[in-house]
Symmetry: C2
Subunit: 164 residues, 2 copies
DNA sequence: GGATTGCGGATGTTGGATATCCGGATATAG
DNA sequence: CTATATCCGGATATCCAACATCCGCAATCC
C-alpha cells in the first residue's frame, strides 16, 4: 500500500504558496524547479488541486497558482484527497457472499461486513488526523524547525525569481 | 492508494480459523474454496501469515493451517501487517533538500520533515485503531450480525468437508 | 513407501502510477 | 489587435509492483 509521490509534492507546494503574495502566485514551472520535481507531471497534480478548490489557477501572462483560501482554512486532508482521490484503501469485495456458505438471499447481507467496518473505522481515524492539521500549521512547523540557512536560501531564490 | 485484496482474504480466513477446532485445522485448498478465492495465491498469503507468527502450518497428511494463538490474542493489525508488510504508505523523499533552496549542509536537515511528521502521525492513528480489534471481535461481530441462514450454511459445509 | 500437505523460488500477466508531449483556450502586455 | 505566457485536458509511452500460477522440494502421517 503505497501513497502517490504527488501527495508529498502537493503538500510542499501548498506550504510554499502559503508564503507567496497571493496577488502574484507562482507558475507551475517555478514550483517544479523550486522542489526539484518533474514539471510536466507536477502540473497534472496542480490541475487536480485546482479542480478540488484547493488552489486557484490564473491563466495568461503573469499568471500562476495560488491558494484558493487562507492557509489556515485549508486542511492537509483536502490536499491529500485532491491528489489521491477519495476511494477507500480497503475495498470490501463481499467475500461473505462467495463460496459454498454464501449464495443465500440478498437480504442475508444487508449490513456492512464486520471486517469492512473495522477497516473503514481505521481509515476514518486516519483522515481525522489529517483534518486537524492545516497548511498554516505546516508552514509554522517549517519556520520553527528549518535551519536559518535553509530559510535564507529559500527567501533569496524567491526574491530573485519573482522580481518580474 | 489501494490495499491488497490479500488483507481482506486473510481477515476472513482468520475469522474462520477462530471457529475451527485447533487440533484439526484447515488446508489451504479448503480455505480458498470456502471463500471463493484463487487457491494458489491465497497460499502465498498464508505462508506470509505463518512467517509472521499469526498462523501455524501443520505439514503432511491431515495437516493444514490454524491460529498460532487464541483468537482474542491476535489483533487485526498483526494480520494486516503480515500481508501488507510494514512499510509506510507515505514515504518522505526529502524534497526539502532538493531544488535551489536545498543543498545546504546535511546538519540543516536533522529532524524529520514537518510534512512527513503529520503523515506518520496519521498512519499511527490508523494502526492504533486496528490494534484495538482482535480476531475474536471479528468473529463476535459475525455471530451477532450474520443471518441465521448464512450461519447454518457455513456450519453445514464445515461439518461435511471436515468429517475426515 | 506412498499420499498429502505446506514451502519457496521462478515465471508470466495485468493494471495503475509515472512521465511526457501537444493542441487549444485564456488572459495580459504592448 | 497581435504576440506572448500560461493553464487545461486528452493522448500516449513507459515502468513497476501487485496479481496469479506453476513446479520441484521437504515434511509428515498412514
Amino acid at each position: 500500500m503505497r501513497m502517490s509521490d504527488g501527495v508529498e509534492w502537493a503538500l510542499h507546494v501548498a506550504s510554499l504558496l502559503a508564503v507567496v503574495p497571493p496577488e502574484k502566485g507562482m507558475t507551475a514551472a517555478k514550483l517544479a524547479e523550486f522542489h526539484g520535481v518533474p514539471g510536466a507531471y507536477l502540473a497534472k497534480h496542480l490541475q487536480a488541486l485546482t479542480r478540488a478548490g484547493v488552489f486557484e489557477a490564473v491563466p495568461g501572462r503573469g499568471g500562476g497558482y495560488r491558494l484558493a483560501r487562507p492557509a489556515a482554512d485549508v486542511t492537509v486532508l483536502e490536499v491529500v484527497e485532491a491528489v489521491e482521490g477519495r476511494t477507500r484503501a480497503f475495498e470490501c469485495s463481499e467475500i461473505r457472499q462467495r463460496g459454498p456458505a454464501g449464495g443465500g438471499p440478498k437480504s442475508d447481507y444487508r449490513g456492512v461486513c464486520g471486517i469492512a467496518r473495522v477497516m473503514y473505522d481505521a481509515e476514518a481515524a486516519y483522515r481525522e488526523e489529517l483534518r486537524k492539521v492545516t497548511i498554516a500549521d505546516l508552514l509554522g512547523s517549517f519556520l520553527r524547525s528549518a535551519s536559518p540557512g535553509a530559510q535564507v536560501r529559500a527567501a533569496t531564490w524567491m526574491q530573485k525569481e519573482m522580481s518580474s
